[in-house]
Amino acid sequence: MRAHDVEGAVAALAEAPNAEFLAGGTNLVDLMKLGVETPDVLVDVRRLTSDRVEDLEDGGLRVGAAVPNSVLAADRKVRTRYPALSQALLAGASGQLRNLATTGGNLLQRTRCVYFYDTTTPCNKREPGSGCSAIEGHNKNHAILGSSEHCVATHPSDMAVAMAALDAFVNVLGPDGDRRIPIEDLHRLPGDEPQRDTILEHCELITSVDLPPLRFLSNSKYRKVRERASYAFALVSVAAALDVEDGVVRDIRIALGGVAHKPWRATKAEETLRGEPASEENFRAAAEIELEDAEPLRDNAFKVPLARNVMVRTLLELSEER
């Protein structure tokens, strides 16, 4: 069905617990065909939320939830001011999918865990209490940080990792009005409720994403590691922004993809590096501190040195390219 406006869309979902928002459909339609997502009604929001990328008064940027991924990646403001975001989008999916997928949908895409995708294998995210097939199964693509005994899935979005590093805010409309969620808080760790990917209420609709006016974010980059050269999800990825002056780290943002149930802000590494010389040694030490608590599974121990190496390499390049 099509609502007339965003408030109408939100109201429709508030009334119908088994309705879902539909934008590009690249994740939802995929999951519906497999019976993983089973809405009765789809509320088409593609033309309701903004499809524009606009300057904000404070110097930041507002990205409408309906902006296609390809358009966002190509936007010149994004390319100059938040290159990590553009790179992250271009590293994701395929040209065709980027044309269909939207900002809002990309944030809300669900894990690619093969057991989640298969309705015949136990999955606590799909059916709480049924068990996690990945913990003792094929888990090369699964989490090394922040997982629980109920779920070791990872969040597959590249865009979200970049947005996490860029300190974005997600604007959401609910039945009681707007709220503004720091992107770090949007996605959850699995904990005891792996079925909940985000903190959003069922009927809340993402309307836009705000990027802050921090100048140094223009020195940012996204590095994605995948098994084949294109069109594959990340084994591990890093989004980072670096402000270096006189060889010292003035400010820094780092987020990791492919390692956890949500984009992983490497706050420990950031804290370690602020005010320190921008050296390879320090980058490496900071990475190791961040990964100290990593809990590898049978198949994914390689992600620890991989994440470390990519963090170091990315930060080095940012400090050299400045």
């Binding site: 539909l22 590009g24 459909g25 690249t26 339609v29 995929d30 519906m32 065909k33 019976g35 997502e37 089973t38 809405p39 009765d40 009604v41 789809l42 088409d44 593609r46 296609p68 390809s70 990646a73 190509a74 010149r76 390319r79 100059t80 290159p83 553009s86 790179q87 271009l90 590293a91 999916a93 395929s94 040209g95 065709q96 999918l97 044309n99 269909l100 309705t119 015949t120 050269a229 294109s230 069109y231």
Partner: protein, 182 residues
């Protein structure tokens, strides 16, 4: 085995009447709301040039130009695109003459079994437009470059959304390059 009522509304199949403009011709049809654009074309309209290779947006064989942009038609619900303009590989020929890109594929043998081929060609057309519009790709060295130069590396990356199991890639790239170089 997963039981669910996923697709029903009040126990009935919901149908909708839509209009699609396909290869220049206006087509009115009734579709199940679950029907994708791909199946609407193939099953309801008998337009079989877009192919079903995976039905989940993972291979690109179903690529169409939808309102000017290349997309995987297998993930687009037909009802959501009522009124859209669609171009398929079948609609590219003019006056019985193959489109230059189609001719290039024939000359370079940019296919083998041919199943991914219509998707490759439509995708290539969309890709050329994107490059013309100055859109960078994952391999574009300078993200802020003014104009995109389509060398082999750019073509390969931009066409990576179209899988080819026969692996005609090494012939597909020069076929596209010939047209893009003109």
């Amino acid at each position: 085995m997963g039981q669910h009522n996923g697709w029903l509304r009040k126990g009935r199949i919901v149908d909708a009447e839509i209009t699609l403009r396909v290869d220049g011709a206006e087509r009115r049809l009734t579709v199940d709301t679950r029907t994708t654009l791909l199946d609407a074309l193939r099953e309801r309209l008998g337009i079989t040039s877009p192919k079903k290779g995976c039905d989940h947006g993972q291979c690109g064989a179903c690529t169409l130009l939808l309102d000017g942009r290349r997309v995987n038609s297998c993930l687009a619900l037909a009802v959501a695109y009522d009124g859209s303009e669609i171009i398929t590989a079948e609609g590219l020929a003019e006056n019985g003459q193959l489109h230059p890109l189609q001719r290039a594929f024939v000359e370079h043998d940019g296919y083998q079994c041919g199943y991914c081929t219509p998707g490759q060609i439509v995708s290539a057309l969309g890709m050329l437009d994107e490059a013309e519009a100055g859109w960078p790709s994952h391999v574009t060295e300078d993200l802020n470059v003014e104009e995109i130069v389509l060398d082999d590396e750019e073509i390969r990356e931009r066409m990576s959304g179209n899988l080819c199991r026969c692996a005609a890639y090494a012939n597909i790239v020069p076929a596209i390059r010939e047209v893009s170089d003109r």
